[in-house]
Every structure is written in C-alpha cells, then in structure tokens.
C-alpha cells in the first residue's frame, strides 16, 4: 500500500496545507509519495523531500502544470494514481478543483474534506455545514481523498530525506488556459495557518472600518477574516471569507466582531480553541459558541481593545 499526496505549492515553496495532508496520510499508513507538479518547481520538490514521513517525491516539471489547470493536472494524477491505494490532496481550492476530476477518471468516488482517519478505508467528514459528522467507508480500490487542514497537525518540515524522482509524462489537454490572477498581497499570516484571527461582519459598516481590526491584528500577529455578508457588501475581498463555503479555520483565538453567527459562518470557525464575540445584540447566535462574549458597540470596544494590548 502506498499513498500519493498531491502537493500544494506555488512552484517555489510548499504550501502549509500539504503538511497537514502528510499527517493524514501517516495515519492511514503506508509508504508516502508526494507529487510536485508545476513549472520550475524544483525548490518546492526539495522542500517536500525534507518533510518528515515522506518516502519519495515525484517531480513533474512541465509548462502544462504551471497553473495547476485541472484539465492537465488531473490526467497526470490519474495516470500515476493507478499504482496507489490512496490519492490524497489538501482540501484547498486547488485540491477541490482537481481531485474530483481525478476520481472520475479513475472511476472511483472522492471522500471530501476528511477530519478523521479511522482505518485505511474509513474516514469521518462533516456534512450539512458541520451540523453532522458522517463516518464513511470507501468501497473503491483506489481511495481519492481531500483533507481538511485544520483537523490534522502539520508534519515537520525537517527530518525527511526522500529521493526526488523526475516524472516525464506531459499532459496538455489543450482545452483551457490561464489568463491571469489577482492575488491578495498581505504581510499578515495566511488565514488557514494563523494562530490568531480577528474577523469582521456586516456590523463593520464599510471597508474602511476594517482598519480597526487590522490595527488589533498587527498587535496580535493575527490574520483578518470576514463573514460572507462583509464580502458580499464589498467591504473586503473574497479570499477573506470564513465559513462553510469559504475558508475553514481553527486558530487558538478567533475574535468575531459584528458577526451574527449564522450556521454557515460557524461551520468555518467553531473548531477554534478560544472564541471571542463582540456584538451589540446580546441575542446574537455567535454568543452560543463564544467562550468570552462582550455585548458592546464594536466602534467603542475594538479601539479600546486595541489600546489595551
């Protein structure tokens, strides 16, 4: 039994979500191979080779894989995947985009977003916005799985010394192309990796007011998140959305400011260790999951909090 992990990377460095997938694979058990498919991605492959627990790195360096286009990458992964018992990727937007395509090419199901490994074929995953946890057994010979990063510790980035093997296969389906991207640039930690997050909702009123949260974030080394309502209203960009259909986070401290606590938002943050809610409505559902609730006007409470840190 061997497990193939599809690495998440930007051609230079390995994304942290890969490390959580390695831990999930370790719990499944078996030899662990990591595929780094990209263009000019040797450095990412080298980084994968030194991750603890990784036995081999497959490096597919080809222009066709530069932007991880699903049409191209899925063909490569399906071709390699036939020799494995499990094909695993982090449940990031890249993993979610590519892996079901791989599963269909292999004529197997995908088990999405697992949060627990019970055995080599049985996994737990949240359904209905996290209001239920399903234990699912895969009946397929090859198990295609995406892994929820917050549910598994990150594997150590040092300690491994896997060999890097080149894969020649070049798949260019020729039906899609990359046009461009708008990548949010920020000096703050990534939402999914941050240990402290302060998020704002519709109660923030507008985008400028997010500066109040940024100032607190600077002091706490925190990432800044948002509810869907805040993103929809155009206060902040989409990559800041936390929730069922946004990012799943589980920091040590999550501070929800002017967020009511709809189930779709809770689905993305209720596994945080400590939750703080600041809301002027004492009936807001967010208080039912908050360890510390403060009923207050955020425009007074947040500047005061900022001053006391």
């Amino acid at each position: 039994m061997a497990i193939l992990i599809i690495a998440e990377h930007d051609n230079q460095s390995l994304k942290a979500a890969t490390l959580n997938a390695v831990t999930a694979a370790t719990q499944i058990g078996g030899e662990i191979h990591v595929l780094v498919a990209g263009s000019g991605c040797q450095a990412a492959a080298d980084a994968a080779a030194s991750v603890a627990g990784v036995d081999k790195v497959l490096l597919a360096d080809n222009a066709a894989y530069e932007h991880q286009l699903a049409e191209n990458l899925s063909q490569l992964v399906a071709e390699l995947g036939r020799d494995y018992s499990h094909v695993v990727a982090p449940a990031t937007t890249t993993g979610k985009n590519v892996m079901p395509r791989v599963a269909a090419l292999l004529d197997v199901a995908q088990v999405s977003d697992i949060i627990r490994v019970d055995s080599e074929d049985t996994f737990a995953r949240p359904i209905y916005a996290g209001n239920a946890i399903a234990t699912v057994k895969s009946l397929d010979a090859i198990k295609v799985i995406t892994v929820r990063g917050t549910a598994f510790e990150a594997a150590a980035t040092e300690g491994g010394s896997a060999a890097v093997e080149a894969v020649a296969a070049a798949h260019d389906a020729g039906i899609s192309s990359f046009v461009g991207e708008e990548v949010a640039k920020s000096d703050r930690p990534e939402l999914t990796a941050a240990s402290v997050i302060i998020s704002g909702g519709r109660g923030m009123g507008n985008g400028e007011n997010f500066a109040l949260l940024e100032s607190v974030a600077d002091k706490l080394g925190a990432a800044v998140g948002a509810s869907r309502a805040a993103v929809d209203a155009g206060f902040v960009p989409n990559d800041m959305q936390v929730g069922q259909t946004g990012k799943i986070v589980a920091p040590d401290l999550y501070i929800a400011v002017g967020i009511s606590g709809a189930i779709q938002h809770l689905a993305g943050m209720k596994d945080s260790k400590v939750i703080v809610a600041i809301n002027k409505d004492e009936e807001a559902p967010i208080f039912s999951v908050a360890d510390y609730g403060l009923v207050a006007d955020l425009f007074e409470a947040v500047p005061e909090l900022d001053g006391k840190l």
Partner: protein
Amino acid sequence: MKVLVTVKRVIDYNVKVRVKSDNSDVDLSNVKMAMNPFCEIAVEEAVRLKEAGVASEIVVVSLGPQAAQEQIRTALALGADRGILVQSDENLESLTVAKLLAKVVEDEQPGLVIMGKQAIDSDNNQTGQMLAALTNMPQGTFASEVKVEGEKVQVTREVDGGLQTVELNMPAIVTTDLRLNEPRYASLPNIMKAKRKPLDTKTPEDLGVAVKAHTQLLSVEPPAERQAGIKVASVEELVDKLKNEAKVI
C-alpha cells in the same frame, strides 16, 4: 447556444439539521426542502445569458425523487425553458450523478453546463468536476464571473489566494460561487406559466447507467458541542481573561 443547468433538491439552508437518535443518518422527515442555493445562482446566470442573447435555450435537470419536480418547476418559473427529471429513490452519489448527467449532455449537446459548486447537504463539491472529466470538457469552478466570447468562455474563479481567470474552449462546465450573481425571485405569473412548460421524466435505466455504491455510510454523529462560555462586562475583563485564563495573548 443551449445551456444546461443542474438543480438539486436539498434541505433549506436556514434549517439546522438534526441527527437521528440511532445515528444512522440525519433526520429529513418534515424538514423544509428547497433548491440548493448555488443552483439558484446557476439558474440565474443561465437566465441572464439568455436575456443577453447569448443562450437560446435553457434546459434544467434534477436527479432524485419525484418531489424534485418542485425544484425544476421553480427553475422553469425563473426562466428555464424545459426540464428533465432523472428519477430515482436510491442514494445517488456524486460519481453516479455525474455519469447520468454525462448521458444527458450527450443527448442535449449544450454549449455550456452551469452547476452549483457545492450541494449544501453533502458538502461534496465534486459533481461538476466529475462531469467535466467524463465529458472531457474544461471546467471553470467556483465562478464569480462568466463571459462568453465566441467559441470560448472566460471564467473568473474564487481561489484561496484571491481570483484566477481561465479561458475555456466550449462546450465547458461552470460551477457557481456565491458572488456570481444575486438570484431573482419568481413572479406569480411566471410560476403559473411554468406549470405548462415541458418536463420530461427519465430513469437511470433509460439512460443506461447502473446506480452503484462506491461508499458506505457507517454512522452519522452530531458534532462535538462547545461548552457555553461566559459574558464579560468590559474590554478590560476580556483582555484579562485572554491573558490569564485562556492564555492565548
């Protein structure tokens, strides 16, 4: 150009689902059902393409029990032209749904298939990508903008780092994200009119697809409940608790 739209019948997104006491599944008896919110967005996008003169016909497909007709009728009231129900009372996994849809695509030959990115019951986020693989079409998943230009479609996608734009040859598959559009409501006259629009019913056997189980649901548990916390009276108390009790700052 013909546009195919898929709509799934799911629990209403405002309803908090409960787990059955024997932990065999969630309890859907007497629960309000509705069209999956992402599918509403898919229907809206198709209707806008038709209004813009890009789409000529909108075919809406749902797979599931007889009652899924209601969601097809809703889509017809919103502006779709005709419906297809692939009726089955069995549990249809994403791969099976994709195989059935691949047959419908073969029959209908649409230029664009618009689907939701995720069904809010299973939270699978798979079916569109699987259909794309089975039909060898390109995919624009998690779309926040769709622009048809001649034989190609440009799709802006919501990705973890921000936005990514790809160009796809048509026919292509698009899956919707929340910000693609704001769905309209159906007017009463349109709801009445929708009752007379054609709705075909087929079965998986008609389409020549065997319904196969690739997974087995062993149990369903409620999630771990959080301990109820406390209310603090002031920012000062909050900072003190975070420093000295929770020790997180």
